[in-house]
């Protein structure tokens, strides 16, 4: 870090800061200018910039290194590619995860899985444990829902991503899912993240409602530090002063995180907007911005969905969107799955 002393800092104050930095394990490079002293602290010290900022005589402190290590591009310059059988997340292909907000009935899960597969999705999304804003809202079907989701995924050759809300659910979910999803509200549930670090299934961490990019990457760091290197991040909109949409979709976070980190970045235009008519434009924008994948809510009968109906797409809307994305992806050097052969035959 670089410590800039105040113009009127006394020699004793400068010396006290140098001593403090050395106590923290840094080597100090002092440079005395005409008006103020600048101290460069280098090495593997424990960087509590706040502690230095409050020292007498300190004007400001700039941190040079980032607090996350394993998640950073400096640690691993090449992209992380997460491979689940034939699905590669973080490679050239833009991977689409789609499905209902929650598993409700066998029929609903089956019809939705069939529809998203037909449109070209590779991964089925669906919740069995639901973190709802209200305790009186539908809370999910639990293991029954997981079973429904997995059997539908298997029938259609899809992988399954589902949300884990607490550490006690990790075991049961691991029996059904291919990817754990950590929801926005749990992004800073560090005990859950630590437990997921001990598992060996991929983890997708959604960005917290008011989380900065750095806080988000630090959450990934918790999982990586446990030894689970299969982590992806998901931008799902953040809280801003704008109240017209449910959240403000931070598209710029996609290239920002891809520059800072080697982890794949997925975009969730459904939660980011909260309205199905805004999902397609934001999905197109996310792919154009370079997202490694999308996670989209699709329901076979959205108007009767038990949760998130307003933001769930009709299968036909989703299919149209996928066709558009197949045009956008190649424009930035990415690929999208081709339509399944069966679907092409059916449409003629």
């Amino acid at each position: 870090m670089v410590v800039i002393m105040k113009e009127r800092a006394t020699e004793a104050q400068v010396q006290a800061v140098i001593a403090h930095l050395m106590d923290m394990g840094y080597d100090v490079h002092r440079s005395t200018g005409a008006n103020q002293a600048v101290l460069g602290a280098v090495g593997d010290g424990t960087a509590d910039t706040g502690l230095i900022e409050v020292q007498d005589g300190v004007d400001r402190v700039h941190r040079i290194s980032v607090p996350y290590k394993l998640a950073s591009r400096t640690f691993k310059p090449e992209n992380t590619v997460i491979t689940i059988d034939d699905v590669r997340i973080g490679g050239d292909e833009v991977i689409v995860m789609a499905g209902p907000c929650s598993a409700e009935t066998e029929e609903q899960v089956e019809a939705t899985a069939a529809a998203v597969k037909r449109a070209g999705a590779k991964i089925l999304r669906g919740g069995a444990f639901k973190p709802r804003s209200s305790p009186y809202s539908f809370q999910g079907l639990g293991e029954v829902g997981l079973r429904m989701l997995r059997s539908a995924a298997d029938r259609h050759g899809l992988k399954l991503i589902t949300e884990v809300m607490e550490a006690s659910q990790i075991d049961v979910i691991s029996q059904y899912a291919h990817i754990y999803q950590v929801g926005a509200r749990n992004m800073q549930n560090y005990s859950l993240l630590r437990e997921l670090g001990k598992t060996r299934l991929p983890v997708m961490i959604k960005r917290g409602l008011s989380a900065t990019v750095e806080e988000w990457l630090l959450s990934a760091e918790y999982v990586l530090a446990g030894g689970n290197m299969q982590v992806m991040l998901c931008e799902r909109g953040i809280r801003t002063f704008e109240s017209y949409m449910r959240n403000t979709f931070d598209i710029s976070a996609i290239p920002v995180v891809q520059q800072l980190s080697h982890l794949p970045v997925i975009a969730d235009p459904s939660h980011a907007t909260g309205r199905r008519d805004k999902v397609a434009p934001m999905a197109r924008a996310a792919v154009a911005a370079g997202a490694d994948g999308l996670i989209i809510e699709v329901h076979c009968d959205p108007d009767r969905a038990k949760s998130d109906g307003a933001q769930s797409m009709f299968p036909a809307q989703f299919e149209r969107l996928m066709a558009e994305l197949r045009i956008i992806a190649p424009a930035i050097g990415r690929s999208m799955c081709v339509e399944p052969v069966a679907r092409r035959g059916w449409s003629r």
Binding site: E11, I18, A19, D27, H29
Partner: protein, 100 residues
Amino acid sequence: MHRLAELRGRIDEIDLQLVRLLNVRAQLALEIGRIKHEAGEAVYQPAREAEVLAHVREVNSGPLDGGALTRLFERIIDENRRLERLADAARAIESKERGE
């Protein structure tokens, strides 16, 4: 052109002497570090550092001014302080291994 080459040759010669002298100076600093360590004194001795800087400014006759000389010697002091710290750390590991 001949003159330029000659001057550059002299600079190289002086650099050689500077490197030798800097290392002699570093050896002395390490020896001082060892004595400070035995006396239980800290590596960082701000009063002594200020003395060293005041001394070099005092004996300076230019064309480098006092500020320039201070900055140059701050670098030398920074590096010697680092050397002392590393030696201290090595001693700490050694005494730990001996089970002290």
